[in-house]
Amino acid sequence: MASKRTWFTLHGWLAVPVWILFTFICLSGAIAVFSHELTWLTNPDARADNPKELPRRGLGELADGVREQRPELELNWVARLEPYMAVPMNATLADGQSATLYVNPYSGAIQAVNQGLTFKGFMRGLHGWLLMPWEHGYSIGYYLVSGFSILMLGSLVSGLVIYRRFWRAFTRPRLRIGRGSRIFLGDFHRLVGVWSFWFLLVISATGSVYLIQGIVWHTGNEVHAAPDPLPEAGIPTTVEGQPPALMDTATLVENASSVTGTFVPGWIRFPEHALDPVEIRGRGDAPVFDDGSYRVALNPYNGNVVESVTPADMTPLQWAARLADPLHYGTWGGLATKAIWSLFGLVLAGLSLSGFLIWRGRVRAPARQAVRNRRREGQAC
């Protein structure tokens, strides 16, 4: 059985060398949780204003409307965000450039055409892989960040082992102010460490899922296989040599919804080649799962459903991957859970900073004492 001192050393080694990066990741995560809301605050085009109190349109209807308004655009995907956010649609412009359109979900008007990185994309990239480049299916930044899940779990376990009777922090919390920084920092570190242990567990568990997912991608595999291509024999030909008309998206969404009952579409991906089905993802009656938990692939030429996947059909890793985002970013319960998650993200940053300050105090004190002793010895000579 390892001694308390060993656990204490392990606790320090797991956290101290990485404390700045860990603090940065916690702070960026606390902001990333509110990336939609910060976009809403700073960009009026991203808001779903409804002064005429019109009924909300479905994703398919909105996509069809945009195609009518701007036939030169090629829609790649459409997503549903929070009710107060405009619907983002990724499109290829006539000049071949990629852009995000913000579409009002009530009027169907295109409010803005945004080229470049969105605030959410920036924050998720910064928090998720430190904006390091992706090549050949992996990013070193993604491994660095998701690898923190292991360190975090180790810090949590070692912290609880060295904190004698840690459960008393729930019944008799102690934070002594005015008795010196060493006592305050120690109390603070132990108190917030124990009170945020559930959050540390959630973040390290979801972080481990991201790590496994990254390894799967790196090995050239997918967590969720893309839908199979349509058989070539089933693709229509045309006499005039032009591509045939595709089914309207609203009908495709309706067909997808009829397959899974309580299906709420959250994301539509349009075909990238003639054999590619339309893919519609969304959520159903399984709580907490994200918008990718129900997947329906449809033939865009006749509207037939060719594949459908629900959480009941998923492997444990697919299941975990679909739970990871809502649990990691606290999006599963709306603004209230986002606020709690963001707050605890800041708390973790404080935990990391206080841990470093405690460690610095501990190693500095003996060093200073040694210097004082040497000086005293020098004076005596």
Partner: protein
């Protein structure tokens, strides 16, 4: 055994390294194949396209294709009638039954493909298989610049 000062120096060094590694990678990139270069120009039914790849990147191992290389086809001028399907394969690479092997996909302007290649003959020409919406099929041999640089 490390004393307090030694331990502190070691921890600060480790902290510095942990911070320097991401900064270094961000600045230098992950060391992949670098920029894409034009390896061929293709005329097709009134359209003009360029085919690009990263010559510095050697072919990757692929579980199904043996060896494969990422390529991009960009239409400078779109063809009068768009093709239904375009597939690329290097001459000498295995002919695969996988319908997505070498299949060009993406937007109307810019298409990508994971193309089966030989792995040992960077100068071998490419085979472009074209299917049209009226059912016609044709195959063209395309001379290209070397697909990768042998070191």
């Amino acid at each position: 055994m490390l004393n307090g000062t030694g331990l502190r120096r070691l921890m600060y060094t480790l902290t510095g390294l942990v911070l320097l590694v991401p900064v270094y990678i961000m600045v230098s990139g992950p060391g992949g194949g670098g920029e894409e270069a034009v390896i061929a120009r293709i005329s097709l039914n009134g359209g003009e396209a360029v085919l690009k790849t990263q010559p510095q990147a050697t072919p990757e191992s692929h579980a199904d294709y043996g060896r494969a290389k990422d390529m991009t086809l960009t239409w400078d001028e779109p063809p009068r009638e768009p093709p239904r399907l375009l597939r690329l394969r290097q001459q000498g690479a295995p002919e695969l039954t996988d319908p997505e092997a070498g299949l060009l996909h993406g937007s109307r302007h810019r298409l990508h493909a994971h193309v089966p290649v030989t792995g040992d003959a960077p100068d071998a020409p490419m085979v472009l298989e074209i299917q049209w919406w009226d059912g016609r099929r044709e195959q063209r041999t395309i001379r290209t610049d070397p697909l990768w640089v042998t070191r």
